[in-house]
Symmetry: C2
Subunit: 206 residues, 2 copies
Amino acid sequence: MPTEIPDIVISRLPVYLRALERLTQEGQEVTSSHELGRRLGISSAQIRKDLSHFGGFGKQGTGYKIAFLKDQLRQVLKVEREWHVALVGAGDLGSAIARYRGFSDRGFHITCVFDSSPEKIGRKLGTFQIQPITELDAFVKSQNIKIAMIAVPAEHAQQVAEILIKAGVKAILNYAPINLTVPDSVHVQYIDPVLHLQRMTYYLSD
Amino acid sequence: MPTEIPDIVISRLPVYLRALERLTQEGQEVTSSHELGRRLGISSAQIRKDLSHFGGFGKQGTGYKIAFLKDQLRQVLKVEREWHVALVGAGDLGSAIARYRGFSDRGFHITCVFDSSPEKIGRKLGTFQIQPITELDAFVKSQNIKIAMIAVPAEHAQQVAEILIKAGVKAILNYAPINLTVPDSVHVQYIDPVLHLQRMTYYLSD
């Protein structure tokens, strides 16, 4: 079943999950595609169609049981479990990432930090000692880590990606402002806030 | 002309611009839709089609002059000028945002920082003094600021958005992990790295 679900649908499921978590915080137990749609700016028809890919989540008219739907989405997305994540880059950005509590709160634990700069290696970042990038391969393999974040300057990002991929990493969250070239078997997502700003300025008058 | 360009096309233009800036750094002066496509994982046909919305950027076979294409894209996206940006939230995340050089390097200048916490107000963040959120309305209006970033806890984000919109902000980059409800005249983009991780774990085996 999973292979048939279009990537564009998969991309919306975390958004649905986040909205459902928010509704739970607000004390709600049941929701509808209309309520979700209103909150998310997505049509209720789209939401029903997306969720129908997985079958049996609810029926139009009766609403969705939030707890059940959250569990289902977490299982589909494989986020009902905890993931270990490697962080490469311990500069300003890497430090901010390491300190951000939003990752571990939602099941993603940064369990190692690597850098190539001699003055950073051995220092503490959060609860972890910064390790030399030369030890990345052995460490990531030994811990069977599949997810990594890249927070190094653009000019080093591709090289770091290749080291990660060789070590077995299959999913990369890239904060460096550059597109990476990776094999089909590896997934990359990009965080570049400037791209988001640039696509909004188009719509600004004056 | 601008109103006819689909949002999905607009969303790809900053990605093209970033790739062209990178090619310039590497010393290149001419590129092709094939080269761009290879770098970006987008089909060359798609790239030609996207760029054809603006007309006259280049011809198949002869390639694109990078400097010219960059200028055109910057004009279309309105990023050939400098933009002032208000930042709301001076916690860990807001501090990291304020320190991130990638914004001003690319024309987005954070020129004021607001927070509601009495112990933060008056402190320096970068070169700016943190101002009380109660002064946001007057300040943003007086400076005619149209772009803001929200880096406050999720439970305050909607309220902050409403204050910003009332002050005339038309584009919001939201780092709080919550979807905002805004009028059609206001654009919102979201930065939530966990959503990006969650859509990759779906594809991870084991």
